[in-house]
């Protein structure tokens, strides 16, 4: 696979082209901000009626990552569902598909700001999850170390000989790792914006998704 392999608090981690994080040492796959049911929620709230295939697309992608890695444990790092109704009203076939992915695996739902709280899907529901040197939670907290989080949907923009390229990305510094949003219809926050640029320490790096993820110094606004 075209993973990008890096070290984080003594552990070897893989950034996958899909935006998921693979931790071979624990056979653990982590994906953040799935936002399942997003198109339905938007239609329900009187917004646009987007192609209602995002949940299927996200689950297909997750299924592909699970079979490629053979993961035994999965952490969904928060904002897995777009809201309560999105998990409740999930179409039967898609719910079956999700239950199929969960079957035989330890599955942890981390609570996000969109999530409704425990739903009837099984798995373990946690506010945060500590595994060895790493702490998994939805929103990064200042002053912590070894933290893996999501929430911000980071993206990075790079100028290439007069052309500009913007891609979803992981952000990495010596205290924390922030995952890109995994869901099909998720926007992104440019990592040069203060919310992210202030959060990430000096020397922070970005891992841009693509056919092969690419690692580079985190782009920041000129000051």
């Amino acid at each position: 696979m075209n993973d990008l392999i890096f070290d984080f608090f003594g552990e070897t981690l893989h950034a996958l082209p899909s935006g998921a994080l693979w931790w071979p040492g624990r056979r653990l796959l982590c994906a953040s901000d799935l936002h399942l049911g997003k198109s339905d929620r938007m239609a329900r709230l009187g917004g646009p009626m987007l192609p209602p295939y995002d949940t299927q697309e996200t689950l297909d992608r997750l299924g592909a990552d699970l079979s490629a890695t053979g993961a035994r444990e999965v952490i969904c790092l928060g904002d897995s569902f777009d809201d309560l109704a999105a998990s409740r009203d999930m179409v039967e076939t898609l719910k079956d598909r999700l239950l199929g992915l969960m079957a035989g695996r330890r599955w942890v739902w981390i609570l996000g700001n969109h999530d409704p709280g425990p739903v009837d899907l099984g798995g373990t529901h946690l506010a945060e999850h500590v595994l060895g040197p790493l702490t998994f939670r939805h929103i990064a907290e200042p002053g912590t170390t070894g933290e893996v989080s999501g929430h911000y949907h980071p993206k990075a923009r790079v100028s290439l000989r007069g052309r500009s390229l913007s891609r979803r990305c992981f952000l990495l510094d010596d205290a924390r790792l922030i995952l890109p949003a995994y869901g099909a219809y998720t926007g992104g926050l440019d990592c040069a914006r203060p919310e992210l640029s202030d959060l990430m320490g000096a020397g922070a790096e970005a891992i841009l998704l693509g056919p092969t993820p690419v690692r580079l110094p985190m782009p920041r606004r000129p000051r």
Binding site: I5, D40, P48, Y53, G187, V214, L216, P222
Partner: protein, 819 residues
Amino acid sequence: MANRPGPVIYGRMTRPLPPEITGWFTARGWCIHPHQQAMLERADAPCQLLIAPTGGGKTMAGFLPTLAELADGTHRGLHTLYVSPLKALAADIKRNLTGPVEEMGLPIRIEDRTGDTSSHTKRRQRADPPHILLTTPESLALMVSYEDAGRTFTGLRRIIVDEIHALAESKRGDQLMLALSRLSTLAPGLRRVGLSATVEDPAAIARILARHPDPCEILEADPGPDPDIAMLTTSEAPPWSGGGGKYAIPAVLEQVRRHRTTLIFHNTRAQAELFFHHLWLANEDQLPIGIHHGALAREQREKVEQAMVDGKLKAIVCTGSLDLGIDWGDVDLVIQVGAPKNVKRLVQRIGRANHRYNAPSKALIVPANRFEVIECTAALEAVRAHQLDGDTDHTGPLDVLCQHILIRAAAGPFHADELYEEIRTAGAYADLPRVTFDRCLDFAATGGYALRAYDQWQRLVQRPDGQWQLRDPRRAQRIRMNIGTIVDADKMQVRYQRTRGGAPLGEVEEYFASMLRKGDTFLIGGQIVRYEGMREMVVEVSRTPYLKPKIATFMGTKFATSTQLSDRILAMFRAEDWPELPGHTREWLHLQRKVSRLPERDRLLVESFPHDGREHVVAYGFAGKNAQQTLGLLITQRMEEMGLNPMGFVATDYATLIWGLDPLDDPTPLFSRENLVETMEAWLAGNAVMKRTFKASALIAGLIDRNQPGAARKTGRQATFSTDILYDTLRKYDPDHVMLQITRAEAMRGLVDFGRIEEMLARIGDRIDHARLSRVSPLAAPLFLEPGRVPIAGAADQRMLEDEAARLMTAAGLVSERA
């Protein structure tokens, strides 16, 4: 609106003009033009189209019947609706109409209503409309979307569509005609009047204007004397390439000096900016010269417009923003910089000079480069021969139709059958198949997805009585907020830094802004500014003493040379000699004929030669820039498959130049129709042009919203996601979705312009001439200087990104830990 003096003829009139009006004309010693009179005589016709040159009293001809009918003060409510493509034009007409009406002492209330009108006034206008309302297509569509539209438009008798030629082939025009189909239902007996500049095929415009199948009377006014038009000769020959016309600045300044007021037209804003900047550097006499284009801040534009009205300016550098008949200033010369690309536009621009009916307009064309000398010569011949570009058959686009269905739903419940019949009274939709209408209705109602439906949350629902209505009436507000068919690239405002007063300068495209680094200098509003940073969604800049901008804003032209002009150029090439061309250009063509050959209309000339260590292929398709660009993409793909290792290409209106590693032996298979169509199908899949086209149509059709009620400013996160994702998702899960069909149809005639490629293939057949040369041919040489080179993508993106990452990591002293 001035009418020349002359004998007054009232005798033939079937309906006498009220004395207030005739008195007003007589007092000024003016007479009524024959076409104004003809409009009056036939004012009862259901549809009239007046074709008259700029300055021919066209607007007065349109309004005279209205003034006559309103003179006795008995009409209650709205009588005449006037629609113009420009806000500024509506305001201008209000000024020019209110004056005479007051002087005539007629009891007529005239108001305008545009995006700039206050919401208070707008509400009042719906409840208590004036006799004459001046508006734009978008404002009208909005009025039609209200539940009380029926009341507002009761009693409406006439609708005047001004500058209809500018609307006829655009989505704004389609939207307008759909709104008119609604108005004709609300106000039976409504008469339509179209006012148009000179066009090649008036019947085509009449077909779009008239309520189908009503007839439309066409009146053609005396076109006036032929324009006095020539190429501007300069001591210096034009450069081989480029579009700015900078070389001609001394000659242009000399012309400005010799005339009262000069309009200097450019094809793009960027070119106008650059030219204006250089003009000022050379403007030793400090002649008052202004700049006007659509990207400038409104305050800036208004200042220039006012200065123009006050006669304070000697010249204005401008773009299409001054194309239409706004009547200000005393313009006696029009200069067109750069080849006009299409003859119709040239004629209309020329018409801006000498805004008086019987004086010839005076115009000069400045070719920006050597090839444009030929193009301009061809255009001049076309103008002298009164041969404009033909109008293409226009079928109403479906994205506009989808929006119209939503607008109709916002106004209240409707029967599908009735709406279908109503829509087909719009000429461009007269042949709309019921099944296509039903698909669009289904899209508007449910999203139109094949595999999954938003049963519970659909937008429109069918009531027990069969009528369709909004599921949630609050949705109407959202629909109204998203009315319109103009989709611009995302723009960002440019302002001076707050510490420097924060004055607005204009707008740049978001992708341009994203490329800027602190300290970069670029041109806007004729000034060079320095990029300081981004605050919220505003680009902040400061003044800079530098004379040369670091970043060129050249973005090319979105207009491709018309088929007629291309044909004329190819016809010119058949001549033995070209005495009408300047010596330098003439010699150039002779040399090309000697070294290689000149392109011909019914053959395709393909040259190949080595240059600078690489192999080159040039295809002279003369299909217009967009089609030549598409051709470049398709051919390089094919060459890749043939193992010729193409590396990139560049396209102009007349040719595509491709460079790569291996020589081409036989070009024939590259240009077979079958091969091109097949490659096209595959290529459409992931193409950026298609995604851009999809986004525009998705916004118009209401798949996604531009604006939402109560939305805060973009916060960045999650607020927007790329529409590319929607395009990919639809292609994957729902390939027959109506939005994808719309996108394909749009691309074929828009940026991809595959239509022009098919046209080219039809005229060349299998007559392909391959000239294998030992070096660059004279005609190919300028292509090497052309901007907008396209590298062959694919693996290139990723490789460039990886190189950049390696460079940055090394620069930052970090070692990549990639396994």
